[in-house]
């Protein structure tokens, strides 16, 4: 019986609940915030939506534009590092023996089982001045110093008079490091999905035709895995762009990202209209990037179909 496919009652029964959910809990609040972005703060909790563009004008202040630019730079750098690190990982999982694959994939998503806040604090414990990296470095320093003393070079202070711990936290490097750590699985998974689908005979054909491994990677693997690369870049870049916890906890005074500013508008500054405007600028840019991707991929498939 195909009747249920065209039965209106069946259609509405299945269509209504998710649609109602989406409208009530996603579109309506979003519309409200969008409305706030054209509003004005009147008193402590009162907001008058009067169609003003003042919030957007204020958002275009060089101060905020710089933070936008910095956020894009952090997100782009994070995406690039994730791609460079994630590709070898995805390749390793793809070519691992089949009984190892589920374990390796599990290890890739294992960090998701722990709260982001806890993972970030763990990272602080590793990187801080009295953290595990510095403990290790200090141990190496002591042993080196002792060894130098033993061979009679102790007086030359070749490795410095005192151990200087590395300052790894509360700067831009720490933020990008943290963002890479958090977002790497988002890159590895789509890359793995694309590579695993790739027919091995394409790689063998390339080798058979005289190409080396590097040439095969550049001319066959990358172009054929391109959909996975694009997906990985998008789903790494977008959440990285909107991060606020990582720059908040790992960054210095100079490393705040746009989401930190937005958070501050909604919480401590209590300026919802301005926060809403900043949020929507971020969203417009994201939509624009996604639309660009959709248009280019449609263009490509239209070209292939022609």
């Amino acid at each position: 019986m195909e009747g249920w496919r065209t039965n209106r009652r069946v259609f509405w029964t299945f269509f209504t609940p998710p649609t109602a959910w989406l409208v009530l809990f996603f579109l309506a609040p979003l519309a409200l915030v969008w409305g706030f972005s054209f509003g004005e703060k009147r008193g402590l909790v009162e907001i008058a939506i009067n169609g003003t563009l003042e919030n957007y004008v204020r958002a275009l202040d060089p101060l905020y534009l710089r933070i936008f630019a910095k956020s894009f730079w952090f997100a782009a750098l994070t995406t690039l590092i994730c791609l460079a690190v994630g590709f070898p990982v995805a390749i390793a999982i793809t070519f691992a023996p089949s009984r190892w694959k589920p374990i390796l994939l599990l290890l890739t998503i294992l960090p998701f089982w722990t709260n982001l806040l806890i993972r970030t604090y763990a990272l602080i414990a590793v990187l801080r001045t009295r953290g595990y990296v510095n403990f290790t470095a200090e141990w190496v320093w002591e042993k080196t110093n002792a060894a130098l003393g033993w061979v009679g070079l102790g007086d030359l202070q070749l490795v410095g008079e005192r151990f200087e711990p590395f300052q790894m936290l509360y700067n831009n490097t720490a933020v990008v490091f943290g963002l890479v750590y958090v977002h790497l699985p988002f890159m590895v998974l789509p890359l793995y999905a694309a590579l695993d689908r790739l027919d091995r005979s394409y790689l063998e054909a390339s080798l058979d035709l005289g190409a080396g491994q590097i040439r095969t990677f550049a001319s066959v693997v990358v172009p054929l895995a391109l959909p996975g690369i694009v997906s990985g870049v998008i789903i790494t870049f977008i959440p990285a762009l909107g991060s606020f916890l990582t720059p908040d906890l790992l960054g210095g005074t100079d490393s705040q990202m746009i989401a930190n500013v937005i958070e501050r508008q909604f919480k401590s500054a209590n300026d919802w209209p301005f926060g809403a405007a900043l949020s929507f600028i971020l969203m417009y840019v994201t939509f624009f990037a996604l639309a660009l991707r959709a248009v280019t991929s449609r263009g490509r498939s239209a070209m292939e179909a022609a």
């Binding site: 005979s201 063998e204 058979d208 035709l209 292939e304």
Partner: protein, 376 residues
């Protein structure tokens, strides 16, 4: 790479093969983990210019053997020499062989021309020569004018031609083909058999192809190696393989056969006397004196039927149990008076209604010399 040394189009006759085989396989074994080896101490020599088939059921090791020639698998033991040099440790991209994959593996993101040019580009062949050779290769496989197409705009048969052109443009000493016709539909497959044979003659190089289809191997190959469970059972020309199989497996795998188990009662002076349960005693000419239990086989088309007792050395009474009409021939399934079943194929060379019916008694006979005695 010197142009035209074994370039496309300057056909060399396969009679002119040099004394040294282009491929020498010595005691090659390949194991994947524990258990039976995929390829088990195989020895083969393939002379230059031959169209050689590796034939066997799935899992017999024929594809593994081909992949060892291409360099995608490493033999566990034994040696492979291609064009006189040991290829152990030589990666696929340095071997003087090219492969046509079963799935064709035509790069979907490149045009037909770019696919064919790929192997030349990666080895730094200058652009002008590249264009000329691509044009030549596409002409050879009759794809002229389709260079700008993308693979998804081609039919299965055309994609195969791209794969062939892409391999041949490299001017390999040996072309390896993995089940080259299996992905084509039946009609196209027939046509492509002849075309591959003609292509080999045109380019004059050695073709080694893998197939599980005995008709394909018989109709195309100069010589065939029949493989079973990793071992080569027989290497021979198609007619020899069919008429003189050396074991039960080959007799059964190549063509149809009536295979009985019998015992040798007496041997000597170029004759054997066989005892086959259900048939009785058969006296047949046979050069080698063999003893003990043997397989006794006869091809269905060698079986003769008559209404009256024939004037033959031996004949049996049988009744038609079933028959199937195939247009050019009729297949009969008979059962002898002693309960032995056998098949016979009779050509329908006379036009007119056939007079075969179930239950009809017939006399069955064949020439003693058509009896196959199989010791293995």
């Amino acid at each position: 790479m010197t142009r035209g040394r074994h370039g496309i189009g300057n056909g060399t006759d396969r009679g002119a093969a040099s004394a040294q085989p282009i491929i020498e396989i010595r005691g090659v074994t390949k194991r994947f983990g524990a258990g039976e080896p995929a390829v088990d101490s195989v020895d083969l020599e393939i002379p230059e210019g031959e169209l050689f088939a590796l034939l066997g059921p799935s899992g017999c090791g024929k594809t593994t053997l081909l992949r060892m020639l291409a360099g995608f698998e490493t033999p566990t033991a034994g040696a492979i020499r291609i064009d006189g040099s040991d290829v152990a440790g030589m990666p696929p991209n340095r071997r003087p062989v090219n492969m046509v994959f079963q799935s064709y593996a035509v790069f979907p993101h490149m045009s037909v021309s770019d696919n064919v040019a790929y192997g030349l580009r990666v080895t730094g062949v200058p652009a002008a020569e590249r264009r000329e050779r691509v044009r030549e290769a596409l002409g050879l496989v009759r794809l002229d004018g389709l260079g700008a197409r993308k693979p998804d705009q081609l039919s299965g048969g055309q994609r195969q031609r791209v794969a062939l052109a892409r391999a041949l443009v490299k001017r390999p000493r040996v072309l390896l083909l993995d089940e080259p016709l299996s992905a084509l539909d039946a009609k196209l497959r027939e046509a492509m058999r002849l075309e591959l044979v003609n292509l080999r003659i045109a380019v004059g190089i050695t073709f080694v192809f893998v197939t599980h289809d005995q008709d394909e191997a018989l109709s195309m190959a100069d010589r065939i190696a029949v493989m079973e469970r990793g071992r080569v059972r027989q290497v021979a020309e198609p007619a020899t393989l069919y008429e003189y199989p050396n074991c039960r497996f080959v007799a059964d795998f190549i063509g149809k056969v009536n295979l009985f188990e019998g015992t040798v009662r007496a041997a000597g002076s170029g004759e054997l006397t066989l005892e086959v349960p259900g048939l009785g005693a058969l006296r047949i000419p046979h050069a080698e004196p063999v003893r003990g239990a043997v397989g006794v086989a006869v091809r269905p088309e060698k079986v003769r039927l008559s209404h009256t007792r024939p004037d033959a050395q031996f004949s049996f009474e049988a009744t038609v149990e079933d028959f199937a009409y195939y247009g050019s021939e009729t297949h009969l399934f008979l059962v002898t008076d002693k309960g032995l079943r056998l098949a016979a194929t009779v050509p329908n060379s006379d036009r007119g209604p056939i007079r075969i019916e179930r239950g009809a008694p017939r006399f069955v006979s064949w020439r003693p010399g058509d009896t196959l005695v199989l010791t293995e």
